[in-house]
């Protein structure tokens, strides 16, 4: 049996074990205590039936099926399908991320190619980079005055740094001999940037883009919890307020899967531009 087949079997085993343990832990049947019915009513089913308020895997699975079969319903601001909420989140991430690409890659080229700009901009990058993107939120809300754009801005600001730094690094470390080839061929600066530096630095740039999309997806959930209204982050917060742990777990699962898909997309793209030496 191949290694991946064996690994797959182990993965399934772990999943089954986990689901089994989860099921057992949540379907507990500790003896129901005798108590004042009034008090029991207040306590809810946890105390009265010896059942956990934590939903079991079957319950979560059932709701997940409901969400999957009807992802785009819209019953007003507080009850939208999971698909709609995800679309909002992905849309914000996409816009903020693309804006970051448009800024970070040209700027990274500049920094990578010019010692002067590299040194001049370094202090700003060093200070701005470690700022938690959410710390920008109040400032963004105050200046932009729109929660949606503010969330996009936060995505932009958190995705820009890894791309900027990786692009600058990739451009600055292009093998000198390749640049010398371009020089001896009298290739102009613009053509050199596109035919030598960009392909040479592309794997490093893509690495930065992959880190950025991961961070952006982490940040969007928190940002939407803050600004509210729409999005998967808001959905999680809203369901917590509704005390629907089942929906919260569903959302967590979906967030993980979308994050994985985004990461894999960038990994594929990275593979396309990678060259063996």
């Amino acid at each position: 049996m191949t290694l991946s087949a064996r690994a797959g079997i182990v993965s399934i085993l772990i999943l089954v074990l986990f689901l089994g343990a989860w099921h057992l832990a949540t379907s507990g049947s500790s003896s129901v205590q005798q108590m004042d019915p009034e008090y029991a009513k207040l306590m809810g089913i946890t105390a009265t039936q010896g059942k956990s308020a934590m939903p079991g895997p079957l319950q979560v699975g059932a709701t997940l099926w409901k969400h999957l079969t009807n992802p785009f319903y819209d019953n007003g601001p507080n009850d939208k399908g999971l698909g709609i909420q995800l679309a909002y989140s992905i849309g914000r991430v996409a816009i903020g991320y693309l804006l970051a690409v448009l800024v970070a890659i040209p700027l990274g080229f500049l920094i990578g190619m010019s010692q002067l700009m590299s040194r001049a901009l370094d202090p700003f990058i060093q200070v701005l980079k470690p700022i938690s993107p959410l710390a920008w939120m109040p400032l963004a809300l105050y200046t932009i005055k729109d929660s949606n754009y503010s969330a996009i801005f936060v995505i932009f600001i958190c995705s820009v740094w890894p791309m900027l730094i990786n692009t600058a690094f990739g451009v600055a470390t292009v093998r000198k001999e390749w640049l010398n080839v371009a020089r001896t061929l009298e290739v102009g600066p613009l053509k050199r940037a596109f035919t030598v530096i960009l392909p040479a630095a592309a794997p490093t740039i893509l690495t930065g883009m992959r880190i950025s999309i991961g961070i952006a997806w982490l940040v969007i959930v928190a940002a939407e919890m803050l600004v509210g209204g729409t999005g998967i982050g808001y959905f999680v917060w809203n369901e917590w307020n509704n005390l629907s742990i089942t929906n919260v777990i569903n959302a967590i699962l979906v967030i993980g899967i979308v994050g994985m898909v985004l990461d894999q997309l960038l990994a594929r793209a990275a593979k396309l531009v990678t060259y063996p030496e």
Partner: protein
């Protein structure tokens, strides 16, 4: 006077020394290369051979002095001086054809894609890589990669071919084949070549003139050795030639001892770096190599 294609005039290269001040790799270096000549430079590691070649290529600027190509002082790299890099320097994301076509397209900006491709294919065939046009450099052996580098340089049909130890990373057999091919191509096209090598036999087989460089720092050109062997050479017969051991011993003697002690050798004697001795080692008698002439 013979026609000089390249004239290196009084170049110096200095680097800041670790403890302040400057160390000179070389000072006041003069060298002329005639059209159609195959010139090899030999010298110990670190004496500044690559530095000379990079200055010739325009990739490096001398601290002082000029290089004149066809009566014009060079100001940087140009398409008329093609470089074959020691590390082949192929663009790994391009195919064999892509690498050669990149050079052809850079030179002939007005050519159509088809014409560029046709020209590139001609030179790929010339170096014996027909059939490998669509392979990436990573799929090629070291010798094949160097062939692509040679095809790329030749496809530019440059005035001057500059090679920095082009075969040093190859096994002996591949090196021999590539030497044969480079020799055949350069001879048939009258290509002017400047090549750095560590290999005395390679120099004897390929060169018309061999430039001997002393050890650094402050290296100098000790002399220029004219190859006494006939232009028509066969690598398997060459050692039977009467003058073969004369030139070989002369070169080895230089590398083993004279490169180190050369400064003492000329101490107190008049020395003109502009006109270093041109010697032609021939079989005894006389046993010692004698100066053929002082270049005036």
């Amino acid at each position: 006077m013979t026609e000089k294609l390249i004239s290196i005039e009084a170049i110096a290269k200095r680097y800041p020394a670790p403890g302040g001040g400057e160390t000179a790799v070389f000072e006041n270096l003069w060298l002329g290369i005639e059209r159609g000549e195959f010139v090899c430079m030999i010298g110990h590691s670190g004496c500044g051979k690559t530095t000379v070649l990079n200055i010739l290529a325009g990739l490096d600027a001398p601290s002082e002095g000029v290089v004149i190509v066809d009566n014009v002082a060079i100001e940087g790299p140009a398409l008329d001086r093609a470089v074959i890099f020691q590390s082949h320097a192929l663009l790994p994301w391009r195919t064999v054809l892509g690498n050669v076509a990149y050079a052809v397209g850079a030179k002939h900006k007005d050519w159509s894609k088809a014409k560029i491709k046709e020209h590139a294919e001609k030179f790929i065939e010339l170096v014996g890589l027909k059939g490998a046009e669509y392979k990436k450099p990573s799929e090629l052996s070291g010798g094949m990669k160097q062939r692509v580098g040679i095809a790329r340089a030749l496809s530019l049909e440059p005035k001057m071919l500059l090679m920095d130890e082009p075969f040093s990373a190859l096994d002996a057999l591949t090196r021999g084949t590539l030497q044969d091919e480079v020799r055949r191509i350069c001879l048939s096209t009258g290509q002017t070549v400047f090549m750095i090598t560590h290999d005395v036999d390679e120099a004897i087989y390929l060169a018309d003139k061999i430039v001997l460089m002393t050890n650094g720092p402050e290296a100098q050109i000790a002399e220029i050795v004219e190859n006494p062997l006939p232009k028509e050479r066969d690598r398997n017969q060459i050692h039977k030639h009467a003058d073969y051991y004369a030139i070989r011993n002369h070169l080895i003697d230089f590398l083993v001892s004279r490169s180190r002690t050369f400064k003492d050798e000329i101490r107190g004697k008049p020395w003109d770096p502009k006109n270093v001795p041109l010697v032609r080692p021939v079989a005894a008698p006389p046993s010692a190599p004698e100066p053929l002439r002082k270049r005036a």
